[in-house]
Each structure stands twice: as structure tokens, then as C-alpha cells.
């Protein structure tokens, strides 16, 4: 599958592996993928990175990474999830506080399930992260693009259910935002 990836997309996938390693995570998650895609903002030349720059996401990078951390701390719940539970009378903040009081900081952020042996000597992608890669492939095919680029990975993340797509949307990088930014030809944005 990776032979169809552009250089930028390969850099993002390798970056995600690096983020997972540094976090000593069991799997490479959507969050690691997003962090790696945000790392491409620095050169800012990859198509997806350009879209994020056009959307001003670079200005909200710290908030975004903080929101990802907060979501993990709350057991993998986004702000929208927490608001929906508040409508049911469930105060997630209170739940997190009490669990952490009894079981230590980041108790709800811990990864679940058995730590498995890595068959190929490296940590696997999580089920959700694998779905992102598959969606990115379909999106690239749907757009008639030959290679999977960082923009397709971004769209793959943004189109998914789950906390990373929520956090992206909450920081001005929803699927629709990214689509819109990608539709503006570069450097057309400077002219508009």
C-alpha cells in the first residue's frame, strides 16, 4: 500500500511512527498521524500542509495539541462528546477528577487491553489509524489522484468518526474546511 504514497505522505507515516515511539504507545494512532501531519507545517510545502496554513491551523497548533491531550485524559472523549454527556447529566470532568484521585493522573488515558507482541518488529497501526489509511486511498482514487498525499491523509482523518476528527473540526480543520482550502489553487490564496 505504501508504494502509492507521495514523499510527503511517507514522511507523515514515518513521523507518526516516531510520535508513537516517543510516546511509548502500543499502536500508531490517528493522533500520531495528525501530529505528524502538523509537523509538515514547518516546511509548509506539502499540499495538505498548505491547506492547513490557508486555514490558519498553524496559529492554533498549540491549542489543537492541547485539546488532543485533554481528550485522551478524558478517556478519549472530545469536547462535543463531553457536551453531549453533559446533556445527560454526566459531568465528565468530575468523573475524570475522581478516577484520577483514586488511580493517579492520566488513569483514563491508559491504553486498554493486552500488550501484544509486534509481529513485524514494529508497533502496528491501530484499527482506526488503518481505516484512515484506507479512506485516504479511496479519497485519492475518488479525486483521480495517482498518489496518496498528505492532503488525502488529512481528509482521511477529518472524515472519520472519533475524537481526532472532532478536535480537527473544533480547530477549523473539518473535512469541509480542508476540501475548501484544497480547492483554492496555490498560490491563488495569496491573490484572493
Amino acid at each position: 500500500m505504501f508504494e502509492k504514497f507521495s514523499q510527503d505522505a511517507r514522511a507523515a507515516v514515518e513521523g507518526a511512527v516516531g510520535h508513537a515511539e516517543r510516546a511509548d504507545a502500543r499502536t500508531i494512532t490517528e493522533e500520531h498521524l495528525l501530529l505528524a501531519l502538523l509537523d509538515l507545517l514547518d516546511p509548509g510545502e506539502a499540499p495538505g500542509a498548505r491547506a492547513l496554513l490557508a486555514l490558519g491551523v498553524d496559529q492554533r497548533r498549540t491549542e489543537l495539541t492541547t485539546a488532543l491531550r485533554e481528550a485522551r485524559r478524558a478517556g478519549g472523549l472530545s469536547r462535543a462528546d463531553i457536551a453531549a454527556l453533559a446533556r445527560l447529566g454526566i459531568d465528565v470532568g468530575e468523573v475524570v477528577a475522581r478516577v484520577e484521585e483514586a488511580h493517579g493522573p492520566d488513569a483514563l488515558a491508559a491504553e486498554r487491553g493486552p500488550r501484544r507482541w509486534w509481529p513485524r518488529g514494529h508497533r502496528p497501526f491501530s484499527r482506526e489509524a488503518r481505516s484512515v489509511l484506507v479512506r485516504a486511498l479511496r479519497i485519492a482514487q475518488g479525486r483521480g489522484d495517482r498518489a496518496i498525499g498528505d492532503e488525502h491523509l488529512l481528509l482521511g482523518l477529518a472524515s472519520g468518526p472519533g475524537v481526532v476528527a472532532d478536535v480537527m473540526a473544533e480547530h477549523g480543520a473539518s473535512w469541509a474546511d480542508i476540501e475548501r482550502a484544497l480547492a483554492v489553487p496555490w498560490p491563488g490564496r495569496a491573490a484572493s
Binding site: I82, A83, A84, V95, A102, L108, R112, P114
Partner: protein
């Protein structure tokens, strides 16, 4: 927080989107809570059978889900 909270409030309690999201979120929270409690019980020397009894599931089920291999 306020933005998302407003959104949920505007949508109202009868909006299926908010209700379904709450269900999915609760499910995720329950899974994390279960993991925390099982780890804690194991650390206190509880057997898988004792944990399974409290959770109302089989010993095999709880071991498969949480056991270290």
C-alpha cells in the same frame, strides 16, 4: 468547551445526533473505566474469576480482554 456545549444546547435534548453521540461517548468512557478498575483489582491481587463475577461476565471474557499475554 463553551462552543461545543452551546452546540449541544442549541440542538436540544431531542436531537438524535446529540443523544447518539452521548451513547457512543458513554460506551468509550465505560471501556476506559473498566480497564482502570480491572487493572486496579489485579494490582490488589484479585483473581480473574473474582473480577469476572463483579463485572457479570465470564472469566474467559475478562481475561481475553484485559489479560497480559
Amino acid at each position: 468547551m463553551t462552543e461545543a456545549t452551546d452546540l449541544a444546547q442549541q440542538a436540544g435534548d431531542r436531537d438524535p445526533r446529540v443523544g447518539l453521540r452521548a451513547v457512543a461517548a458513554l460506551r468509550r468512557l465505560v471501556e476506559q473505566l473498566e480497564a482502570v478498575q480491572v487493572r486496579s483489582a489485579r494490582a490488589r491481587g484479585w483473581s480473574w474469576q473474582e473480577i469476572a463475577n463483579e463485572l457479570g461476565v465470564s472469566r474467559q471474557a475478562v481475561h481475553k480482554k484485559h489479560g497480559r499475554h
